[in-house]
Symmetry: C2
Subunit: 295 residues, 2 copies
């Protein structure tokens, strides 16, 4: 792959690459139990932006890792992400019927199969990572499991549930998002970097600052798009935060200040990676892409 290709080409190549890894890692659609395996594939292979996989590949590039050594880590974070969306859409959670322009998994396969498919996708993430053995796999596994668990993503979702209908201040909202989406985004970058040369403690801290900034930026953009967007451009239900009375950046800051916050976070992301030079190119491009995305 040409290292000088423009970002849309690079990201398209990497998204295709991880889709191939996921396709091969998931049980075949003809393998029983059929409904479960179909549901798993439906939830994972239905497209999506693959932001987390791109971050993993970009983190790998920063640490000089060959993409082939990053493939499984990139696929593992996408499996965790897909399972979390699947469970998040369930009737007892967000009760959403549309995801990536298609019926959500429980609408297509029923609640019980969707629940199990999410459970099995989480197992699959750890299984492929353990079997791959790239980098210090024990450390990589611990990192991913921590990011997924009650002190990471699942914890953030629990806070999200608890705050519906309450008045939340900005620091609390940010803490929730740092867990709900930030933890897995940070893990994605770190897992990718963990596939290459050993980074110094200060370098890992810089990566974490970068990840914290783009993780929040991603969420602020989501909140802005939820207000501005339509189901057609988003591929999911628009305006649902307001309908569910969820506190958002827009509801707390107003639209203009939320947009300004995105710019500040983008600048923070750039600043965090200043010492890495050209090796940080793709991470920088992802930060810009996240901040400027329209869906």
């Amino acid at each position: 792959m040409n290292p000088d290709v423009a970002f849309p080409v690079w990201s398209g190549e990497r998204a295709q690459r991880v889709a191939g890894v996921l396709e091969a890692a998931l049980p075949a659609p003809a393998e029983p139990p059929l409904a479960l395996h179909e549901a798993m594939r439906y939830a994972v292979l239905g497209g999506g932006k693959r932001v987390r996989a791109l971050l993993t590949y970009a983190g790998g590039e920063l640490a000089g890792a060959d993409p082939a050594h990053v493939d499984v880590a990139a696929a593992a974070v996408e499996l965790i992400h897909a399972y979390s969306l699947l469970h998040d859409d369930l009737p007892c959670m967000d009760n959403d019927v549309l995801r990536r322009g298609k019926p959500t998994c429980h609408v297509a396969f029923g609640e019980a199969v969707a629940l199990l498919a999410g459970d099995a996708l989480q197992s699959a993430a750890f299984e492929i990572l353990a079997n791959a053995g790239a980098g210090d796999s024990r450390r990589q596994l611990a990192l991913l499991a921590h990011a997924a668990g009650s002190r990471g993503m699942a914890g953030g979702q629990a806070i999200d549930l608890a705050v519906v209908g309450t008045t939340l201040r900005l620091p609390e909202l940010e803490q929730m998002h740092q867990l709900k989406t930030g933890a897995l985004i940070r893990a994605s970058v770190r897992l990718g970097a963990g596939c290459g040369r050993t980074l110094a403690a200060g370098e890992n801290e810089a990566l974490d600052r970068y990840a914290a900034a783009i993780g929040l930026a991603f969420q602020v953009v989501d909140d802005v798009l939820d207000v501005e967007g339509t189901a057609q451009t988003l591929g999911k239900t628009a305006g649902k935060d307001a309908a569910q009375q969820k506190p958002t950046y827009v509801s707390l800051l107003g639209l203009a200040a939320a947009r300004q916050r995105i710019e500040t976070l983008r600048a923070d992301a750039h600043a965090a990676l200043a010492d890495f030079g050209a090796s940080a190119r793709r991470l920088i491009e992802i930060a810009d892409w996240i901040a400027l995305r329209k869906n």
Copy 2:
């Protein structure tokens, strides 16, 4: 610990031991998000027979492992088991309200928190195993993840869902149980053994034969108890298989043949371990205990 103690003493000591490991591994009840962490602890620390942990310790003893080196593996299989019960009890699955004599987790904490608690318990199992690094941890993690996933426990639960109200023959019923409960039971024994000396391929196969026999025996006993027992002795709803029109060993074989099948499986378990001599003592005792249990 005295190696010559009787089985009830040994199993009581080990059950207490793993409870302590679980207590320390789980986030404190005062750590936010409170509801999530309370629900996780509620689902895990509420007692239970700890059959899988006992199998892990017994597998460790067979391979000469110090119990201290088996602790985390034993706790990890219990976390996976607890998460599976929690999700299995949810309204979209078995919709059960009673577990170990207490309200099920979703009755006590609400569906959404229960769902997330199960998710986070699965993550926690892999996190503690990755952090412990006993034995060949990469192989241990792959083994546990495979047992939990769509080709193991989650796959068995999906088959279980699909066969409600259908007529199932015995081989299909056994295949379902080999995944639904058998896979994690097999992994429990193997994970424990993986903490000790390296076993020969034939020795691992013998352990798998043992595990397959006691896994099925456990299930046949469950089916018999579901017919014979009461909620008071079982600590969970009795008679629910018949109410849900689930195929069981009793519905397929009749009560007398099901009881006979338990004895045959117990003999199979003994035979599988014949070459191990005294090192298999606790595994043999567990087989007997499973076959003869009344709740």
